[in-house]
Amino acid sequence: MIGRIFKEGLWTNHPIFRQLLGMCPTLAVTTTVLNGISMGLAVIFVLFFSSLVVSLLRKVVPHQVRIAVYTIIIATFVTIVDIFLKANFPQISKALGPYVPLIIVNCIILGRCEAFASKNRLSLALLDALVMGGGFFWGLVTLASVREILGQGTILGYKILPPSFNPLIVMVLPPGAFLVLGTLVAIMNRLERIK
């Protein structure tokens, strides 16, 4: 069971490349690697704690309002992250800007709460949250690295490509996000087929 959770979360059922969940932060904040890392960490945090609470509350919440209750819980943790970033890491908070609140409607979190945390016992739900968050994290970092290297010739702000390299501006613009993600998903498909 535990092995399966790891394999699914990090590869076969990868939240970004396989399930195509949580697209809006994925595409929007991956213009630079730093943004990708911070968004990934924020998502792991929120996912972990909302899974915790949802798993504890799973028998109490009436069916009819469960989505409302879950989103409220998620929103609370997101606001905490937001306040925390504003107070302690103002630079990151500025960069992530309006996308922090959108973690609330990140389908991964609601999806995992609904599909896994609300049906499984606490320890498994927490593990699943961490692994799914980890999968999301490496997806974000990969996407962000490709876009930053091709779009600006830098990684984490350090120049790594020679100055003669002419940055592909489109990569940091919205269309680039779609194109890179599409190609990455195709590469994942290809790797799957080799196996």
Binding site: P62, Q64, V65, T79, K86, P98, E148, G151, Q152, V172
Partner: protein
């Protein structure tokens, strides 16, 4: 029928209770972080002010009509100008600009970008010195203009290549801010 009433009561109870708890936690967290957030924002603004006006040694805050204006003083405690935070819509989101003018509000001392979420590598280059320094010593009696190539008039600046929208937004926010500041100072003097 009784069952459905009971169910409804449970719906009401759970939803209210959870909102209450969440409300409490959030208020608590916010309350404890409030001071720090304020301090951070203040630090940002002060750093920008000292960068723009290097002979400024002392800053006083004053609010007029619920808007904050920063009065800048030099080491002899003479008023050298004002700074003001203006914000507006950029290409992707909010841009916040801090600018300073001399005490007669005729000359711009400079601008600093406090906050922006423009595209990295393009719009975010409004944060670069080469763009910001163009605003130094511009006259404020006519609105600043933004042109794509080779500024010729005194009140023109050159936009960043392939980020015309962000550059224009900065200029627009600046002009609006100068107008605001003039009105506020006038009101204060009266």
């Amino acid at each position: 029928m009784k069952d459905s009433l009971k169910y409804n009561l449970r719906v009401i109870f759970v939803l209210t209770f959870i909102s209450l708890i969440c409300g409490f936690i959030l208020s608590f967290v916010f309350n404890s972080a409030k001071a720090k957030i304020k301090e951070n924002q203040k630090k940002d603004i002060y750093r920008a002010i000292y960068q723009i006006a290097d002979d400024c040694k002392n800053v006083e805050e004053k609010s007029i009509n619920e808007e904050t204006i920063y009065w800048l003083f030099n080491d002899k405690d003479e008023l050298i100008g004002y700074a003001y935070l203006s914000q507006g819509q950029g290409y992707q989101g909010k841009i916040k600009i801090l600018f300073a003018v001399d005490k007669s509000i005729e000359r711009l001392l400079g601008i600093e970008i406090i906050e922006n979420v423009e595209t990295p590598g393009l719009g975010s280059r409004i944060n670069e010195e080469s763009f910001k320094s163009q605003f130094k010593n511009l006259k404020t009696n006519v609105p600043v203009e933004c042109v794509k190539f080779f500024p010729q008039k005194k009140n023109q600046i050159q936009a960043i290549t392939s980020a015309t929208i962000s550059s224009r937004a900065v200029v627009g926010i600046l002009n609006k801010g100068i107008q605001n500041l003039k009105n506020l100072i006038e009101e204060n003097d009266r």
